[in-house]
Symmetry: C2
Subunit: 600 residues, 2 copies
């Protein structure tokens, strides 16, 4: 069971990024085929994953060290107290070194914590029992430790993949499918990233332990739904873990309650208290912001020791169940997550998505569009079942009711799905990507809504430009913010992408072969940057841009040598004659994007 779990949730768990990058690539096709064809499949549930991750966090510590070479000493010191499962290394944004140690059991951890000291004697600085520690140097003597039996599991384990290396890898792939798989594996949130996020949640729990008898802090969103990227934000939710047993009326001794006084909502006050606690009592938490008057009050903070940005909210079980739903769909077929990753990266490249909030589409509806596409019956058959089917085969153990009586009931145990209900299509990732773009090139956005519940287009209940049904609260449109212009751009970009993918994958392997033409290195957001040089407060006119030779030369003259080289590369790409149509569109879009960014 444990082995299975590791396989399913942590592809590449025991490899450091460097190892992956240096090692020969695993044959993606082989992986893909193996996963698709191995029947009967064995799935674990989301709850099992979460329970496993929480248990892992409960027997882990994060220790600040001098450098990765502190490994032997830390291992030697800790193994005197407790048995060690494994040690991971990472650096935070400030370049400080940390090791995440997983012990064999929670009891082991308690032994260690009991033996922990405090650095300061001042009354002003009070020690705090949290799982984030510091490994102090010994003043004079050098202690002898036995040589560790194991190695550091990973070094610099939270470092995002270097873009140059990634693009180098992508350019050497044999097929577009391989490219998609490589992109996914090198940008997805890795095992250490997940572990650290559960540690940050655990730290809040340890702080709250004596304040609330029944509260837990659970990660949700991209950190756990299987679609998270390296360095993604951490969404946390305070959940009420009151069990039937705790409210058993035969328990005659019950805790006195604290009645909340004053007019404000108790939850708002509790969130305010959480803000105070995070600011005053959570080591590593900085830049605490309280956004308490919003519909869903949140506390934002940056966790410096782990390098993770956190958003804490409360009482958002529908958010947790949504994460579970996405996780289930992602687990059902190994092509779902890689395909979503490449589409999200493409959307970012062409400027369909944008980190700021606005009138454009976001990653979540885009993910629903991918799932919806995979539910369609192509000539090869479909990949994913509609949600209504997953609700239909739910048992009474699957019943979940979130806040405001929102019904979140769907099958949790994927082993209960009949084999014929998913994975019918055997198409590879390249084919699916092209089909995705073609599907939405022809989709009737005018009259139809996208609904993963139905798995087929449904009539739009209103005239909003883009209608994507919220799978959990079906009366809501998750893309209600999207403007007509943005929807038009979406339609145009999927057509461009279909055209480009078809024309770029065959024939000679140019610089923008396969995916390379669809996605962009983040370090060379060339055009966008260029257009802004010396013009940061002025919009560039479309006319000027289309007068290509002049503008590109002008641009070059204003850049340093190093930057010029990159610009030259971009300009070279632009100049390829056979893509003049595509390019012009791109530039027009770029100008649009710049205008839009000004507004934000």
């Amino acid at each position: 069971m444990f082995v299975l779990f590791q396989t399913v949730i942590n592809t590449g768990k025991h490899y450091s990024f460097r190892k992956i990058l240096n090692a020969p690539l695993p044959s993606c096709k082989c992986l893909l085929n193996r996963n698709i064809s191995d029947a009967p499949k064995k799935f674990i549930t989301f709850d099992e994953v979460v329970a496993q991750r929480r248990a892992e966090a409960q027997r882990s510590l994060v220790v600040q060290v001098n450098s990765e070479s502190s490994f032997n000493e830390l291992y030697g010191y800790c193994s005197r107290y407790a048995s060690i499962n494994g040690i991971h290394h990472y650096k935070n944004n400030g370049g400080e070194h940390f090791m995440l140690i997983e012990f064999a059991s929670e009891d082991n951890l308690k032994d260690i914590l009991r033996s922990c000291g405090s650095h300061h004697k001042d009354l002003d600085v009070m020690a705090l029992q949290s799982p984030f520690l510091w490994f102090r140097a010994v003043a004079n003597k050098k202690e002898k430790f036995t040589v560790p039996e194991t190695q550091l599991i990973n070094k610099d384990g939270t470092l995002p993949v270097n873009e140059d290396t990634l693009f180098e890898q992508l350019s050497h792939c044999k097929t577009v499918s391989d490219q998609i798989q490589v992109l996914y594996e090198h940008t997805m949130l890795n095992d250490l990233g997940v572990r650290l996020r559960y540690m940050v949640a655990r730290q809040l729990e340890t702080i709250m332990e004596s304040l609330y008898a029944n509260m837990a802090v659970r990660p949700f969103g991209s950190s756990v739904n299987g679609f998270g990227k390296m360095g993604c934000d951490l969404d946390l939710v305070l959940t009420n873990e009151l069990t039937q047993e705790m409210t058993d009326p035969n328990k005659r001794l019950v805790y006195q309650e604290k009645k909340c006084e004053g007019g404000r909502s108790p939850w708002q006050r509790h969130m305010e208290l959480m803000g105070e606690l995070i600011e005053l009592r959570v080591p590593g938490a900085t830049r605490v912001q309280r956004i308490l008057n919003a519909r869903v009050p949140i506390v934002k903070y940056a966790h410096e020791l782990s390098g993770v940005d956190c958003d804490l909210c409360y009482s958002n079980m529908s958010g947790v169940y949504m994460s579970e739903l996405l996780w289930l769909y992602g687990s059902l077929d190994p092509r779902v997550r890689p395909l979503t990753f490449v589409i999200r990266r493409w959307a970012q490249t062409v400027g369909l998505t944008n980190p700021h909030p606005g009138r454009w589409i976001t990653n979540f509806p885009l993910t629903l569009m991918v799932l919806f596409f995979l539910q369609q019956k192509t000539k090869d058959g479909f990949v994913l079942p509609p949600l209504k089917f997953m609700s239909k085969i739910a048992t009474k153990d699957d019943i979940r009711i979130a806040e405001d009586y929102v019904n979140c009931t769907f099958v949790r145990d994927l082993n209960r799905l009949p084999p014929e209900s998913y994975g019918q299509s055997q198409s590879n990732l390249q084919t699916l990507l092209l089909q995705f773009f073609e599907f939405y090139s022809q989709f009737d956005f005018q009259d139809k809504a996208i609904s993963i519940n139905e798995g087929a287009p449904v009539r739009k209940p209103n005239n909003l430009p883009l209608y994507i049904v919220n799978p959990i609260e079906q009366a809501l449109n998750v893309s209600r913010n999207v403007s007509f212009e943005e929807c038009e751009r979406l339609k145009m970009e999927v057509r461009n992408a279909a055209w480009q993918l078809e024309s770029c994958t065959e024939g000679d392997r140019t610089d923008d072969w396969g995916l390379l033409g669809l996605i962009e290195k983040r370090t060379t957001r060339g055009l966008k940057k260029l257009l802004r040089v010396g013009n940061s407060h002025r919009l560039v006119s479309v006319k000027d841009l289309f007068n290509e030779e002049d503008t590109s030369d002008k641009r070059l003259s204003k850049k340093s040598d190093k930057e010029s080289a990159k610009v030259a590369q971009t300009v070279k790409v632009e100049k390829k004659e056979q893509k003049i149509k595509f390019k012009n569109t791109t530039i027009a879009n770029e100008v649009y994007r710049i205008r839009r960014d000004k507004i934000v």
Copy 2:
């Protein structure tokens, strides 16, 4: 050791008040003599008492019940889980019933807490692990419990003594010494009062457990110094319990600290957080006030479940050591506390002290005056040693340095005091009381300061009317607030009291025999009330008052029948011819007091 402890700190521990009041009085003289003559004495230390009280609180719970008749059911229910040491009953100010249960061990308590439930399932009301619980009724079935092996230790155990009953008792005493002892035993903070105060401190500790690794909440002041009255306020202090072991530099794993951001003092922020925590997470806490800009920031709150008013401050170890010092002096001789109680009650009666802050003397300097008097060598010898002697024989274990490097070093183990260094005088309480008044009637307040460090009058370093050296910070005068007029009144009142005590204790047993003339029933603050009838916004002139017959008649005519009876009694007292001098002074003082109260 345990038995000894109980004897020393809890006179009458195993008696309910009712029991004491209904039972024949213990022979006070006998008690007194036994305690004085039992040599060699065996004392326990303050730290031992505190440790014992804290341990007691850690294995105790306070459970809200339906009535005192819930005893059998509660006993039966709890004894299923854990072994019970004893159960006390009390009612809070709202008339709700509670039982304080002491279990045999802390482990027992943990078993019980694990089996506790939560009342509400709402997300808004979250259960809280504190030692204040509620005993829920069972809906339908009646459970059978075995008959308890023990009885309820006390019923209505925090009810202050009824004043009529007290005065009845006092009037039947054989001697003034007996009266003093009875007054002390019936108004001192009892065992249950102390237990509850430690429970309130413990509750804050359980709340803070996960927030601060090294903090304790300790009661100080009258709740623990041996001079507390029933219903007295509870002073609490946050103390840093960092041990040498915790800061041992060989402990290489240390907790990450939380650095406090922002300009305000970290302690002020921690106190603000405590205010929030008390308001939001402490069941029973109401009317929370944050007084954070004071020199010593405090959080005040009323604890409704225990009926105790609390003041929480931080980092006030000199306050804790002052409590210890008073406790030590009070433990050294059994006459110290009863004498202090009667003098404080007398000072309250004649209006020398006043619950409001102002230019008058307070209980603390008054207590120092009693201790100072007991250090004087009368013809019978002295009772208490000077503090300088207690510092002289201190060992290195007694070294205590409070905040701002204040030296609080004095002997903690009273067994180390040579027998000849205390209790030389064998005078009874009556003699001591008279001597107290006589001593201060003749004291040279003009030139001399009172210093329990020296045990003898010292030269005043300035011209303040009253100078009482702070025993711990000797550069400070604890009575620097006292005005010239108040000091004059003090001198006059001690002379009056000496005169009155001498004249009232001999001869016929009138209504104001012995103590009765010196202290007043709180329910019949006759004169003061009378003078205010219809005149609440106008001062009564001294001339009118001295025209006795008229004023008293006028007063009577304005009162209801029931009140008239009480007034008549007061007036009757006033009219006794042989005390005309005393009475006139009293009335003059009363007018003064009323004027002063107006100012407050």
